[in-house]
Every structure is written in structure tokens, then in C-alpha cells.
Assembly symmetry: C2
């Protein structure tokens, strides 16, 4: 029995999200399980570092899979990739200690949200960013982000309340501009359902002065989703990388 850690990139446009579903075969997990099972000759289960929503992209999602015996990295990057559609790719595969689990072993995640502030939606970036044709005050967004960094109960920034704990730690939020593109990068221990997209909607409202920077303190205090910002669309969101302590490389 051997455990492998996979790094996977996908263009989420055509898919109903990461998680396998009985009613559709258009999920990333489902397609990976089928492709690896076909190549291995027996059924396998693939565990992701977390679920990405329908339409969300990944540059470096991670997943773990247990095989009955040892294989070379090329088993994944050549054989399995050939059984995957061209918008899903296993970029790397590494043998890890048995017991490694892509979700349970993860220590942190980096997400990136891309915004196109140009007048007209760019025809090439339209699948990979949110079109938001407004002047954004980046300093106001950064001041707002300061209040969100650190350990907080983010219950006001999720659309699902049944988590065991809604406490999370955000290490950093970086807002940068390049031409008409604005990117927000989030680093933290983990993120709740819809959390990065609600944080983004909130920062965009701060960037247009529709809300003040310190308004987010009130959301953290009241845990009231209704006071937080709009849910930014899935197409702008990328899971960039998942961090592990030494144990999970």
C-alpha cells in the first residue's frame, strides 16, 4: 500500500465543483477517481485538500490517493493525464508516508481572486476574473484587510453555519494592481464555505467606498452574514497552493 500526494490544476469553468456527485460526472474529484481507477485497474478514492465550488479554478489543488503498490510519477503525469480532459491536469505526484491525507494533513492555503476593472470585459480573461468596471481605492481595501487578518470567528463571512468551528486564522491579505487587473491574495489556515468570495465582495465594497474599513469589525462581532459584502462570482477565484508541514512535504 502506497500513498501519493498529487498537485492538480484545473479550469473550473465547465465543472460543478470538486466534490464527487451521484447525479453528474462533471466534477473534478469524480473525473480524477475514474481516470486513476482506469489506469490502476481497480477502484480508488481521491481525497482533496478541500472542496472548490462550481466554477472555481485551481493552480495547485492537492489530493491524496492510496494505491495497492508503488508506481512512478509518470503513472500519474502521463498515463492518468491521458485519461483526463485537457482542462484538468496532474502537475506533480510524490510518494508520501502512509497516513498522509490531503485535507487532514494540510496546514495552510493560498487563494487568489482576480478582478478586471476595465470598462469592457476582456475577451481573453473573462473566464478567469470578475468584471468590476469601477475605480478601486486599493489603500481603502488594504486598511479593511488589516481588520480581517489574524484569528477571528468568521461566522459572518460564510453561507453555511453548521461547521464545528467557524474560527480561522488569516496570515495575510495582499491587494495588488497591474494595469486594469486587481488581485487579492489570501493566506490562512483554512477558509469556510464561500469565505474567500464573501471577503472579496466586502473588500470590493470598501474599494468603492460603499463601506468603511472598520465596518468589518462589526461583522466579526455580530457574526451577521447580512452585514458582510456580496458573494463575488466563482470565475475569479483560484486555489493557488496548499501548505503542509514537513510530514506532508
Amino acid at each position: 500500500m502506497r500513498t501519493y500526494k498529487l498537485t492538480v490544476a484545473y479550469d473550473g469553468t465547465r465543472y460543478r465543483g470538486w466534490q464527487r456527485q451521484a447525479t453528474t460526472d462533471r466534477t473534478i474529484q469524480g473525473l480524477l477517481e475514474t481516470a486513476i481507477s482506469d489506469a490502476a485497474g481497480y477502484p480508488v478514492e481521491v481525497n482533496g485538500s478541500g472542496r472548490t465550488d462550481a466554477g472555481v479554478h485551481a493552480l495547485g489543488q492537492t489530493a491524496s490517493v492510496v494505491l495497492s503498490g508503488a508506481v512512478k510519477e509518470e503513472f500519474f503525469t502521463d498515463n492518468v493525464n491521458q485519461g483526463l480532459p485537457e482542462d484538468i491536469r496532474i502537475c506533480e505526484a510524490h510518494l508520501v508516508k502512509n497516513g498522509f491525507h490531503a485535507r487532514k494533513s494540510a496546514s495552510g492555503k493560498v487563494y487568489e481572486y482576480r478582478i478586471d476593472t476595465g470598462d469592457k470585459p476582456d475577451v481573453f480573461r473573462r473566464r478567469y476574473c470578475c468584471h468590476f468596471p469601477q475605480r478601486l481605492d486599493l489603500e481603502a481595501m488594504r486598511r479593511t484587510a488589516e481588520y480581517l487578518k489574524g484569528t477571528h470567528d468568521f461566522a459572518g463571512f460564510t453561507d453555511k453555519k453548521d461547521e464545528t468551528s467557524t474560527k480561522r486564522k488569516i496570515y495575510d491579505i495582499m491587494v495588488s494592481r497591474r494595469g486594469s487587473s486587481v488581485t487579492i491574495r489570501y493566506e490562512g489556515t483554512g477558509f469556510l464555505y464561500h469565505m474567500v468570495r464573501i471577503l472579496t465582495g466586502t473588500l470590493l465594497e470598501a474599494g468603492t467606498h460603499a463601506r468603511t474599513a472598520d465596518s468589518v469589525q462589526e461583522i466579526l462581532r455580530t457574526k451577521d452574514r447580512g452585514q458582510a459584502g456580496f458573494l463575488a462570482p466563482a470565475r475569479g477565484l483560484f486555489l493557488r497552493e496548499v501548505h503542509y508541514d514537513q510530514r506532508g512535504r
Copy 2:
């Protein structure tokens, strides 16, 4: 009667090329003519700077259109754009002198060809580049390009022989690398059918040492398409901009 010069961007992936066809409505020219005619209330004809092939993209294709009266730029960038699919956009529109014709008035063109040399095709760039997972010797490509610059009869670098003249002038060919991306930029008076894609296939062969730099002199001399390189796929090609002398702004 007023003449307008339009700058148009499109993602060519879904289309059968620029030129209107009786048998399909999936052409850029056809969709622009329909959208402008609908907005104007009478039928118009749109003339492009040239035809782009099926699957080829444009960052700055130009086109001219004659309307019965004056309109503001917003007529094109707002009203007409709303009638276009999201992968075709009029970026700019300017009133020009009557008599201006996007093709006949053009003095030069800039094309860009993008190559992904990474091991695995990048899931986000796959629609917008040619996947060519080989080490490219950029210096060999540049030496080869030197022989192609200037005024030559490019009959060996086209797939259509019935042009009045196959003589063209290439001002410059620039080869650059950024990470695993290699870009070739072509500037010239104009390009024959398939010419940029055949030049690219030829330069890629030079980049892998499948041919010598001076082999292209022989193609220019013999005008033998069979000696030139392979036809690089459409998805990597972008029409970047079209130049005009003062007259056409």
C-alpha cells in the same frame, strides 16, 4: 454618410474565422454585421483589415463600417457590444475620413504567436497557445529569423498560390521567453494566407535544430512550400494590431 474605424478583440476559439459565410453564423464578420445592423436599424457591411482563420484570436483587429449618419463612440462600445457574444468586443470606435477602408488603407500589421514549452499543457493557456514541450534554442530561432526579415517573395511560406503578388516585407521578428512561454512577434506590411503559422513552424524546427538557420534561404529561393516548416496551430496566433498612416489615424 460617416465612416468609422473599429478596433475589435476576439477569442477565436469558437469561431470559423473572420470572413462571413453563407453556411454558418459563427464568423466574426457575420456577427459584427448583424449586431451593428440591428443597432443601426438598416443593413451594413463591415470590412476587416484582413481575414483571420478559424481559431485565430485578435487583440486589435480593425474594421471599417459606413453608417448613414453620425453616432457617438458609445453606439459601438455600448449598444453594439450588448448584441455581441462575450468573446467578441469592440474596444474602440473612431470617426475617420470617408474613403477609409480597414484593409486597403492598412500600412502594416503585428502578429504574435505564443508557445507553451512546459511538459504538460497549461490548463489555463491551452486555448491561447501551441503546446510544444521541447527545449527551444532561441538564438538559433533568431538567426533563422534574420534571413526572413526584409522584402522577399514568400511564395514558399503560404498555402494559397493565387495571390496577385507573394512579395511582402517583414520589418521585424522578435523571439522572447518568459518562464515556459515563448512568444514570436512579427511586424510587416502584410502576411499571406497561413504565412505567420508556417513561419512559426519553420522557426520552431530551427529552435529544436531539426533544420539549420540558412535552410530558409533555400525556401525563399525555390519558393517550395514543401521545404518550409509545419503549419503551427491556429490557437497560438493573435493579430495584435494594424497600422495606418496618418490618413487612417
